[in-house]
């Protein structure tokens, strides 16, 4: 009899489509705000935390401190050493991942309903009372130094470092978030403790939660998990000044395929023209196999496996960038084709047919992003960090559809600056 009841309940709780599910904003008794989608059909919760600021909070001579600090969060906390913390996580079958980027420290967690309280208590220790013990510091420092040395010989990483340096100079955006061999070798435990206090405070925290949990349960969970964090952290980093100029930079490196990054100034997320620029980029180089760059460079000429362009509106600067790779004896033709397409788009814009296809792609693809609890939690955190309203999901496709041909072509003229494109090429390019 019990089995039969379970079967019927399962049938009744089948969920409506995601578009119909409302996001709730909840505030915990302790005053912590989060966005929640209740999704009880699978007995687990996906939790996404983001702290604004990230690796750009590194002090000038402490580059890599935030990144190393985040790498140490799971390497011993509270009463547990690194192995003890890992064993405890495995016993609960929880999953915690800790990551940092230019603008954020992010923590993604998932845990089962059956041991939720224990999982949250364990996660709390790693966020609020990490040990940063010397043994872990030295061991993880060794791993980071190995990664830095490997990056120094990876053509994609070499290109990114050179491009960022040209674009942002001494600003943190201008160097690798993981630091250099020199800076990381010099970091002390005090530096790590300071980076923790600077980056992980409640005044810069955004939270998205999806899964088998009620609003009331989540409120209590948030206070337990995050109530012990300091209320405030370091001042936010200064805006970055974009120093990029037009031209080509070659980094000589013995490898058969040249790797290229290219770009110039971009457009802010809150600019009124952002959606027009987004549609424009879909047509130029963001829309997969159908983009103009893909058609001209790959499909017609076979010069590359992939060429892409991206709008990169970061917190402190906005870039419009792209990437491509071609054999050393073909990269020069690739660069010529990209420059020509950039100029052609700036001068002639897009056609009505291209515009309609790009809108169909963007509006049709949008609901496909909501595929799983973790994905939805990440989307909700991104919306909060971009200061978007809680009903944004329902209105987003209208914003895409409102873009006109005149909008796109005006933005193409204003945004695309073929003479300002900087190419950074790593390899042994011929004929440039």
């Amino acid at each position: 009899m019990k089995r039969w009841i379970v079967a019927v309940l399962f049938a009744c709780t089948a969920l409506p489509a995601w578009a119909d599910v409302k996001i709730q904003e909840i505030t915990s008794p302790g005053g912590i705000t989060a966005w929640l989608v209740q999704e009880p059909s699978i007995p687990f919760v996906a939790l996404e935390l983001r702290f604004r600021g990230g690796a750009s909070l590194d002090l000038p001579d402490k580059r890599g401190a935030t990144s190393l600090m985040v790498g140490l969060l799971e390497e011993g906390a509270g009463e547990l050493d690194a192995q003890g913390f890992a064993r405890a996580t495995e016993e609960l079958a929880a999953g915690f991942s800790y990551d940092s980027g230019d603008d954020t420290v992010s923590i993604s967690a998932r845990f089962l309903t059956e041991n939720r309280d224990q999982a949250v208590a364990l996660l709390r220790t790693s966020l609020v009372e990490p040990n940063f013990d010397d043994a872990s510091l030295e061991r993880v420092r060794g791993q980071v130094l190995s990664i830095i040395r490997s990056n120094e010989k990876d053509p994609n990483e070499i290109a990114a470092r050179a491009f960022d340096q040209l674009a942002f100079g001494d600003h943190p955006y201008g160097s690798a978030a993981e630091g250099t061999v020199d800076t990381v070798s010099a970091l002390t435990r005090d530096d790590i403790v300071a980076a923790h206090a600077a980056a992980m405070a409640r005044d810069r925290l955004y939270i998205g939660v999806v899964g088998d949990i009620s609003a009331e349960e989540l409120g209590a969970l948030l206070d337990t998990l995050l109530g012990g964090l300091p209320a405030t952290g370091a001042d936010m980093p200064m805006p970055a000044t974009l120093a990029l100029t037009g031209g080509t930079t070659v980094v000589d490196y013995e490898t058969p395929q040249s790797v290229a990054l290219f770009g110039h100034a971009g457009i802010e997320r809150h600019d009124d023209d952002f959606f027009a620029a987004y549609v424009l980029n879909t047509i130029l180089g963001g829309g997969g196999f159908e983009s103009r760059l893909m058609t001209e460079v790959r499909e017609k000429r076979g010069l590359t496996y992939g060429v892409y362009s991206y709008l990169a509106p970061k917190d402190l600067a906005a870039l419009y960038i792209g990437s491509v790779a071609s054999a050393n004896d073909r990269i020069s033709e690739t660069v010529s084709v990209i420059k020509a397409e950039w100029a052609h788009m700036a001068e002639s814009g897009v056609t009505q047919d291209e515009l309609e296809k790009a809108k169909a792609l963007l509006t049709g693809a949008y609901p496909l992003r909501f595929d799983g609890n973790g994905a939805i939690a990440r989307i909700m955190v991104g919306m909060q960090m971009d200061d978007l309203p809680i009903d944004y999901i329902a209105t987003r496709n209208d914003k895409v559809n409102a873009v006109t041909l005149d909008d796109v072509n005006r933005v193409a003229r204003e945004l695309l600056k073929p003479e300002e494109l900087r190419f950074v090429i790593v390899g042994k390019p011929e004929g440039l």
Partner: protein, 446 residues
């Protein structure tokens, strides 16, 4: 009568818990095409996949890379579709499409709104038999796959090293040839080569349709009959009798030197048995062995070498049991600064020898089994990963029943099973040991 019915019901439920949880249905069309439907009604989305039971290891000698080359060419035209129109049509529906090739399979997929499924089937069934290729697009696309090889392999010393390791591991099986192909053979791939592979393997009796998402299994079956069911089977399709390995009797060693290497490491691969239909227990024991030895920081190799002896910065163990033929069990150690590759390799071997003496830590085995149980809960959040799991299994000789039995087979693994499997697989005569170095101080860590 009622009592018997009740018992029968309980028995069925007990026998197929995974099936119930994953909402899986399977059918076979009259022309031999298999159909698997996985329901997930949380979002109005569907993943439509066609998997062919043929990959790079089914190529004939001399045309390595042709399976993957053909995969690219399937995005060119048919009688009804212009070159590029397939992907353009998917994009116009807001969908995403792509394809991938491995040793044992080639698969094509589109992820679209659930109400566009019929259009996807129209196009995918069309290109299964109606491909039309011209000489010009062959040459351009061949340049694209060579650039793909440049990106994935030629620009990466680690990838070149793995390619040489694989070639040394297999004396007589096509698993020793890279999926993307040897460069000198890729450069001569022709229209005829591609069409020969297409004519042999692209047929409904060599294909599996996997549809996952917000769909009704009976609706999917009806559409599948309409679009795929009308295609003729290839009567000449042969069983997958590939060349097999002779007895391997000599340990192989190699040193791969490349100035682009910043971090040297040691890898050892051993020839290892794969999952087989109705006989998955040895593969299950090897799956657990890989977790015990190299799965995360609490694993035996990391605990001993990274934490206690501090000789490595990372250690790993890998076993991919979902394979049609003999697979490998791999160990990797990345030495800490100042530790030579020889010292790291010796330390790794000493830990393995001690493990075989001391046996399995029961608490560790319990933790791994708990994580496996939980992974069945987490897996339900991604219908695409379930679809991929079925596609890989069914193209490597396993059945739907094998896929559904697998979690229970894993839970049933004992310490003795693991040690027996370890002793059987850790035979140096069937192994390849490789050092990846910068070439400056072979045997050193710099």
């Amino acid at each position: 009568m009622r009592r018997i019915l009740a018992l029968l019901t309980i028995g069925l439920l007990a026998a197929a818990p995974a099936r119930a949880a994953e909402n899986v249905s399977d059918f076979t069309l009259d022309n031999g095409m298999q159909v698997v439907v996985i329901e997930d009604h949380r979002a109005p989305v569907v993943m439509h996949m066609v998997w062919y039971r043929s990959g790079s290891a089914d190529e004939t000698a001399g045309v390595s890379g042709v399976a993957h080359f053909l995969e690219h060419l399937l995005f060119k035209g048919t009688d009804k579709l212009e070159p590029g129109e397939f992907s353009a049509t998917v994009a116009a529906q807001g969908g995403r499409d792509n394809a991938f090739t491995s040793y044992d399979y080639t698969a094509y997929f589109q992820r679209v709104a659930a109400d566009r499924l019929e259009l996807m089937m129209t196009m995918e069934s069309d290109r299964m038999v109606n491909l039309r290729l011209g000489q010009e697009e062959i040459l351009t696309e061949r340049d694209v796959i060579i650039e793909e090889r440049n990106m994935r392999t030629e620009n990466s010393p680690g990838a070149l090293f793995r390619e040489q390791m694989n070639a040394a591991q297999y004396y007589n099986h096509r698993y020793g040839v890279p999926i993307i192909g040897w460069r000198h053979e890729m450069e001569t791939l022709s229209l005829e080569d591609a069409l020969a592979y297409y004519g042999t393997y692209y047929a409904p009796n060599n294909a599996i349709l996997v549809v996952a998402g917000d769909v009704d299994p009976q609706d999917v079956l009806a559409l599948a009959k309409t679009y795929y069911g009308v295609l003729p089977a290839n009567p000449d399709l042969m069983p997958r009798d590939r060349t097999s390995e002779p007895r391997q009797t000599s340990a192989r060693r190699m040193v791969f030197e490349d100035p682009r290497v910043a971090q040297p490491y040691v890898t050892r691969s051993y020839l290892a048995p794969e999952r087989n239909p109705g006989a998955q227990s040895q593969a299950a024991a090897l799956t657990m062995l890989a977790e015990i030895l190299g799965g995360g920081s609490t694993s035996v190799l990391n605990q001993k070498l990274q934490f206690e002896q501090q000789k490595v910065i990372y250690a790993g163990a890998f076993y991919g049991g979902t394979s049609l033929d003999m697979t490998t069990f791999d160990l990797t150690v990345v030495p800490a600064d100042g530790v030579s590759l020889q010292d790291a390799e010796d330390a790794m071997d000493a830990v393995i020898a001690a493990f075989l003496e001391e046996g399995v830590d029961q608490a560790q085995l319990d933790r791994i089994k708990m994580q496996l149980r939980a992974s069945q809960v987490y897996a339900r959040d991604s219908v695409e990963s379930i679809a991929n799991r079925y596609g890989r299994a069914l193209t490597t000789g396993l059945t739907v029943e094998d896929v559904q039995a697998w979690p229970d087979v894993l839970q049933a693994v004992t310490e003795q099973d693991i040690l027996d499997a370890a002793r059987a697989v850790f035979d140096r005569k069937q192994s390849v040991t490789g050092w990846l170095t910068s070439g400056h101080a072979t045997g050193g860590s710099q």
